[in-house]
Symmetry: C2
Subunit: 447 residues, 2 copies
């Protein structure tokens, strides 16, 4: 029995305080985990019993379809209270994903101030800095003292989500600089704000792409970054928590690309059948088309195959192993290029390293398949086994190098190696693999 099921069974015997105490003692990660296992009506019952701050924390972490279910089932009064307590950037996220009916019902329950903030925020593209930002931050002018600034913050801290930094602006609200709370609080009261502003003021523009915003926050270890428009007016801040979500989305997109799908991170359950087909068929057909080139190569060796049928039955495992070696090395390159650790200028050093790595892997896999093919059914003669082993070794060495070079060259030409390498590399490896395999056999067996 999970904790939440336990609660559902005993809730009638608990006081309101005991219920709250119970909920506060479940880590949010665990609650979300258990939540997914509940039936819809159980979930709605539980949601009604949660304290408001937990309602919000939970709602924001649930998948879209659960948000939709909850929001279309709770009372207007509850909805009003919920959205009153929620941060504007979070409300925007919800409004942008739920159905039109739920969106309308959320809208009528917003305060007029929240509506104004929404209208402002909804102008921006959700994948840009402005689409992530909250319009609530603390800013002062540069000519006041630290003492005055601290007083200002203490009077206004409850209006913002986090107090990490204070921003300095001029009379026209143009952004001048940032003061981390740490520097502000450790300065004496009579210090002029201007004098403790950071010498390097980092900001992003409203239309900066969200992945670049993430990179800025990450590289500079910022808890929040200010967002300015093109007149340099401070319009909001993006906080680290939204950036973590962006990094997770990016992660999903990369994984999808590696699985040969077009990379949007919409969740599987929220994508309809047509959406899934659209995401998958283009790559499947492109790969199929490239793949059929192998038919032409094999056609060339048809008579040889018929003469030595053992070649056919070991053919798939040879090219597959080559493909695996190639996909290992291309993965290493793609990841290294993505993290910036690998540069095109190192191509010589990488190539020579990989010649050695490939040789070792080739010899080892070659030995394994010689033993396997001779001693296990369908057994072949020692002669044939050695031919298979030598071909495999050569295929692994060459495939490994193709796996290294393809992403580096594709990247050098300015394309995204995550998307482009897979089909091209697989086809090239297949063609080379068949050619090496049959030519080695021809040479060694005098076919």
């Amino acid at each position: 029995m999970t904790k939440l099921e336990h609660f559902l069974a005993y809730r009638s015997e608990m006081t309101k305080e005991e219920q709250e105490e119970f909920f506060y003692n479940i880590p949010l990660e665990e609650m979300i985990e258990e939540w997914r296992k509940l039936e819809d009506d159980e979930a709605l019952h539980l949601f009604a019993d949660l304290p408001y701050d937990l309602k919000i924390d939970l709602l924001l972490e649930l998948p879209y379809q659960d948000q939709e279910t909850i929001l279309s089932n709770i009372s207007q009064q509850n909805k009003k209270q919920l959205f009153h307590l929620m941060e504007p950037d979070d409300i925007v996220d919800i409004i942008q994903t739920v159905s039109k009916e739920v969106r309308d019902s959320v809208w009528v329950n917003l305060s007029s101030e929240a509506k104004r903030e929404m209208i402002f925020l909804l102008r921006f593209d959700e994948d840009d800095a402005a689409g992530l930002m909250t319009p609530r931050y603390l800013a002062v002018q540069g000519d006041i003292t630290v003492g005055q600034a601290v007083q200002f913050i203490r009077a206004n801290a409850d209006k913002v989500e986090y107090v990490f930094n204070i921003y300095v602006i001029d009379k026209l609200k143009r952004f001048l600089g940032t003061i981390p709370m740490k520097d502000l609080l450790s300065a004496p009261d009579d210090t002029i704000i201007n004098s403790i502003m950071e010498s390097k003021s980092i900001f992003v523009y409203d239309d900066t792409d969200q992945e670049d915003v993430a990179r800025t926050i990450e590289t500079n270890d910022l808890a929040a970054v200010p967002v300015v428009d093109h007149d340099h007016i401070l319009i909001g801040i993006v906080t680290f928590d939204d950036v973590i979500d962006v990094i997770r989305e990016e992660q999903t997109e990369d994984v999808y690309k590696m699985g040969a799908m077009s990379g949007t991170s919409t969740s599987y359950m929220d994508t309809n059948i047509l959406g899934l087909v659209k995401k998958r068929v283009p790559w499947l057909v492109i790969l199929l088309f490239f793949g059929t080139i192998s038919a032409n190569v094999l056609h060339h060796y048809e008579s040889m195959m018929i003469g030595a049928a053992f070649l056919i039955i070991f053919m798939p495992v040879i090219t597959q192993t080559g493909g695996n070696a190639g996909s290992q090395s291309s993965t290493l390159m793609i990841r290294g290029l993505a993290t910036g650790e690998i540069q095109f200028k190192s191509i010589g050093r990488i190539f020579s390293r990989e010649c050695v790595v490939g040789l070792i892997m080739g010899i080892l896999t070659g030995l394994v398949i010689i033993l396997r093919s001779i001693f296990l059914p369908p057994g072949v003669g020692i002669h044939e086994g050695v031919v298979i082993g030598i071909s495999l070794m050569l295929v692994v060495i060459i495939s490994n190098l193709i796996g290294i070079l393809a992403p580096l060259l594709i990247n050098k030409m300015g394309f995204d190696p995550t998307v482009m390498s897979t089909p091209l590399m697989a086809t090239v490896i297949d063609i080379c693999g068949y050619a090496i395999y049959f030519e080695t056999a021809r040479l060694l067996l005098n076919l």
Copy 2:
């Protein structure tokens, strides 16, 4: 010419102030990007000119081998100053990665307080919460007033890295709760600290795995999480910036696993040849061994193949396309399971959706290969083309379902589907693929 190259060309004409101004105006991301393109001696020259805060920011973001080069080339005096200004958790990270010589030279330049902190921090596993934490945080006892706490913070803020929260402890330094800076600053001066402590106090243990720490910070949108030992004594805090690094590492590990390599995130350039071979050979051999099962299946159809050679030349593209469809669907499942969006209980719904998706993909790819095989060389007859098309359709439908079921079942059995699905699924798809292909041909062509 990059900005840094520009600097190297004109540095002698600039005053110290102009140089600093110049550096502060380059975003750190850009500087790192350009840094990688410099030769070692240029990089060392530039490093000498950087202001200390930028030296630290840059050093921490560079790959290990660059850290090593810089640290083994700068003067003792510089090193002393650098490590004096660096946060203890960052020093630990550097100490754990550089060579013994550099480590020793860093050590002699640490202050005795820093050495004490290092000795404390180095006791912990670097993959645990305590391995990420900084021992510098602000804590007060619960019976003082907000006014006293604010005074305490203002006197001590310069000793910590960030001022996000203040922690409440008892006389034995046991952790009692957290007060976000926002709540502290917005409370009146005479409020007792205890009364504004968060009702839900989130913390992690010193030996909590770093990925769980990341999950806690992420789910609860925390800028920092307190770390306690098993006597509940507060020993440090982990901040969001370290957690972002953990999420990136996790990302690399996942990508490696999908590329059939054992998943450690050590950077490519820092791994030696033996390390690379160890990372790659085990999977390569396992996959090879599984893969040879296909030889047994093909052996079964040997006489049929020799009788109808067109079957051989289209065989690879059929199983490859099946493999691609399967890897698409298993990627969707693996990712969905990882993010928690997909649960085993939904297996029925997913299965029926994927029957439809698979059917559509099967029909489309089947049509493409019929047209391709009839009209492009090596051309086959209409009869043969249709046989190939129908087999491909069936193979795609079945492979797609295998791709869905394998990760769900492996996950249900308690294994990690990222690692386990690939080899198993590929082998099962291959075997099924060959069987379907040849059985369809036998049936339709009366072979």
